[in-house]
C-alpha cells in the first residue's frame, strides 16, 4: 500500500544527491551516530535516576530539566540526518523488517518520553519508586530497540 510513496521518495533530489556521492552517506551516517550518543547520555542520566541508580542524591525533576534540551537537540539531529539516509534507499528500507520495527518503536519511544516518562519525573504526582523504576526500564528498552533495529538495517 505504501510502496508508491516509497517509490516517490526515491525520486527526490535529496536522496539522489546522497546516492551520487561516495562521501555523503558515510558522513551523514557518522553524524547520526554522534547525535545518537548525545541522545544516549541525555536518556541514561534520567533513566538511571528513575531506576534508583546514578545521581540518586539529586531530584529526577532537576535532572530531566537539565537533560531535556540535549535530548531534544539530539532527536532533531537524528531526524535531520535520518531523513536523507532514508531518502537514499527507500525501496531497500520498504522491504527491511528492521526498518519497520524501528519506525514502529520510534514513535512509541518519543510519545512515551514526553508523556508518561515526563510525568514520572515530576515531584507533584504520586510517583512511587517502583513506578519510576518501571518507567526508567521501559525507556531504556524502547531506545535500545530503536537503536538496535537501526543498526540491523545495515546487516539485512
Amino acid at each position: 500500500m505504501l510502496l508508491p510513496f516509497f517509490q516517490w521518495c526515491e525520486t527526490l533530489w535529496l536522496g539522489q544527491a546522497v546516492i551520487g556521492s561516495s562521501w555523503l552517506f558515510p558522513v551523514i551516517e557518522a553524524v547520526h551516530l554522534l547525535a545518537l550518543s548525545v541522545l544516549g547520555g541525555a536518556v541514561f542520566i534520567v533513566d538511571l535516576r528513575l531506576l534508583g541508580l546514578g545521581l540518586t542524591n539529586h531530584s529526577v525533576t532537576e535532572l530531566w530539566r537539565d537533560a531535556r534540551p540535549w535530548m531534544i537537540a539530539a532527536i532533531v539531529g537524528l531526524i535531520a540526518t535520518g531523513v536523507p539516509l532514508f531518502l537514499s534507499e527507500p525501496i531497500k528500507l520498504y522491504y527491511s523488517d528492521s526498518f519497520w520495527l524501528k519506525m514502529t518503536v520510534l514513535p512509541i519511544a518519543l510519545v512515551f518520553a514526553f508523556t508518561i516518562r515526563a510525568r514520572a519525573t515530576a515531584e507533584s504526582v504520586r510517583n512511587t519508586a517502583r513506578r519510576q523504576a518501571l518507567v526508567g526500564a521501559l525507556s531504556i528498552a524502547l531506545w535500545v530497540t530503536v537503536a538496535a533495529a537501526g543498526r540491523w538495517i545495515g546487516f539485512s
Partner: protein, 180 residues
C-alpha cells in the same frame, strides 16, 4: 596480523552469520551508555548542563557507569579487530582512531591528576576553571572523532588494495605497494 587472521577463531567470527553483526551491534549500542554519559560529564565540565550537580557527584556516581561501558567497548572492539585483523591494521581510520584513543587517555590522565585534585575549590560552581573546561572540551572533540573514524573503518576509500593512493595514505596505513 596475517597469522591472527588465519586462526580458527578469527575465521569463525568473521564468517559467522550472526556473531559478527551481534558483536558489531553491541559495540554501537554501548555508545549510548559509554559516550553518552561521557558527553554528559563533559557538558557538566563545560557548564552546559547539570550545572547544579557538583562535579564530584558526577565523578562518584556517573563515572562507574562510564567505566563499565568502556570495558564492554574494549571487549567488543577487540573482538571486531580480531575478526578482521589485516585490513583493520592497515586502515587509516583505525590508526587515526587509536591515536585519538591515546590522546583521550592522556586527557583523562590530565584531568584526574592535574585538575580533579583541586575539585573542592570549584565543585559546585556552574562555571568551572579553564583547566576543567578544557578537559571537557578535549574529551568531546576526541570522542566525536573516535566515533567518526570508527564508523569510517567500514568504508574502503583508502584501502591498501585500492591503488593508486596518495603517498601519505600508503605511509600512514603501512601499505606495501608494488613498484614497477
Amino acid at each position: 596480523m596475517e597469522w591472527l587472521a588465519a586462526t580458527e577463531y578469527s575465521t569463525a567470527l568473521r564468517e559467522s552469520l550472526f556473531m559478527y553483526p551481534l558483536v558489531e551491534s553491541s559495540h554501537v549500542l554501548f555508545l549510548l551508555l559509554f559516550v553518552g554519559l561521557t558527553v554528559m560529564l563533559d557538558l557538566r565540565l563545560l557548564g552546559l548542563s547539570l550545572t547544579r550537580v557538583p562535579v564530584s557527584d558526577m565523578v562518584d556516581r556517573i563515572l562507574p557507569w562510564v567505566r563499565a561501558g568502556f570495558a564492554i567497548m574494549i571487549f567488543t572492539g577487540v573482538l571486531l579487530f580480531f575478526a578482521i585483523p589485516v585490513r583493520t591494521y592497515q586502515s587509516v581510520w583505525f590508526r587515526a582512531k587509536v591515536i585519538m584513543l591515546v590522546l583521550a587517555a592522556l586527557n583523562i590522565w590530565y584531568f584526574h591528576y592535574r585538575v580533579y585534585p583541586n575539585v573542592a575549590a570549584w565543585d559546585s560552581d556552574a562555571k568551572l576553571p579553564w583547566t576543567a573546561r578544557r578537559a571537557g572540551l578535549a574529551s568531546i572533540i576526541l570522542w566525536a572523532g573516535i566515533i567518526v573514524a570508527g564508523r569510517f573503518i567500514a568504508y574502503n576509500w583508502f584501502d591498501c588494495d585500492i591503488q593508486p593512493q596518495s603517498a601519505f595514505v600508503n605511509w600512514f596505513a603501512g601499505c606495501v605497494v608494488a613498484t614497477d
